[in-house]
């Protein structure tokens, strides 16, 4: 199983910030073998890697309403299981268990963070852009949280929609 196909040269693209309309609404399924999907995957990973502190990026954040995201939690202190850099199309959460609260931020909401309850164990099914391989990824801890955050983006949801209470939002001074 490879979650990182051979990608074309990706471009760093501008990231939408809330309240941009492109962040709302459900993104649509894609054909993972389409060259445009592979090119988008390359742009996602390039943009993510070019954004300090960013561990994942969804296509909707680039204004593209397709179900594709990139992820890489390598080296993050809260990471346990780590699949390294990856791109995934048409992801579906097959199971989600062991819910815990944690602090999240988002490149599209640069001024705020929030306390969000997420499953610390997930199994995610998806397809690898370029190869079309259907994969089942089982992970935990920080990578599990990141999967749920990115898949929420593809459903038009931000962490703001999931915060735990009226006082669960906090100011933040990073990403500037």
């Amino acid at each position: 199983m490879t979650l990182l196909p051979e990608l074309p040269q990706g471009a760093v693209r501008p990231v939408l910030r809330a309240p941009a309309a492109g962040l709302s609404g459900r993104a649509r399924e894609v054909d993972p073998l389409e060259p445009d999907v592979l090119a988008l995957a390359a742009d996602l990973l390039a943009t993510q890697l070019g954004s300090p502190g960013c561990v994942g990026l969804a296509a909707t954040q680039l204004g593209v309403p397709w179900r594709v995201f990139s992820l890489d939690v390598t080296g993050h202190p809260r990471t346990r299981t780590c699949h390294g850099p990856m791109v995934l199309a048409n992801p579906v959460i097959e199971s989600a268990t062991r819910w815990e609260k944690g602090r999240e931020g988002c490149l599209s909401v640069p001024d705020l963070t929030g306390d969000v309850k997420r499953a610390t164990r997930v199994v995610v099914r998806g397809e690898v852009p370029g190869t079309g391989e259907s994969v089942l990824v089982e992970t935990d801890a920080f990578e599990s949280r990141a999967f749920q955050h990115e898949i929420d983006h593809l459903d038009g949801l931000l962490f703001l929609d999931r915060v735990a209470g009226a006082h669960a939002l906090h100011a933040r001074q990073v990403y500037r």
Binding site: R17, A18, P19, S24, V109, D111, L112, K117, G156, L157, L158, L160, D161, R162, V163, A164, G165, A166, H167, A168, L169
Partner: protein, 172 residues
């Protein structure tokens, strides 16, 4: 002892909470509930206390706070209220979108029309992004789907996103 509500509003600086509570403590007041935050950088505190005198004597005791003109203090007597938990179910209402007048009134209007009671509210404006978070008790028997649908319609008119989710009520 009488129950009073004290509000302190104005220019923020270190030491306001300490000074306010020192002055209250010197009167023999006993603090019950309190909340304090910064609203666009302004200090805002409300507290409820049992005081030996009345609202007037408490206001007099707090007068030093207002001497430099940067803070406004008000004290009024309030009745005891029941503090039992809600009878309905708790939900978190989240609204976010481009800032414009009328977001809070439109969505809280939907909640009120459904008989819902807002028990906690915070809103934030960060550049163009407006975020409202409200904890809402909906009466038992409320058709939550119907409320969600009415909220979605109101949100669509305002061009904002809305969600209504049950509050996590896990206890150890």
């Amino acid at each position: 002892m009488r129950l009073v509500a004290v509000t302190v509003l104005g220019h923020d600086r270190p030491g306001i909470v300490a000074r306010t509570t020192q002055l209250l403590a010197a009167t023999g007041a006993n603090l019950e509930d309190s909340t304090m935050t910064l609203l666009r950088g302004h200090f805002a505190m409300v507290l409820v206390a049992q005081v030996p005198g009345d609202a007037n004597t408490t206001a007099e005791a707090l007068r030093p706070l207002t001497e430099d003109g940067s803070l406004v203090v008000s004290v009024r007597e309030v009745p005891e209220e029941p503090t039992a938990g809600p009878l309905g179910s708790a939900y978190l209402l989240a609204v976010h979108g481009a800032d414009r007048p009328g977001i809070v009134s439109a969505v809280t209007g939907v909640v009120a029309a459904a008989g819902g009671n807002i028990t906690d509210l915070s809103t934030r404006l960060r550049q163009d992004l407006y975020v409202l978070l409200a904890e809402v008790d909906l009466p038992a028997g409320t058709d939550v789907e119907e409320v969600s649908s009415a909220l979605a319609q109101a949100a669509a008119r305002l061009g904002v996103d809305v969600s209504l989710r049950p509050v996590d009520t896990d206890v150890l």
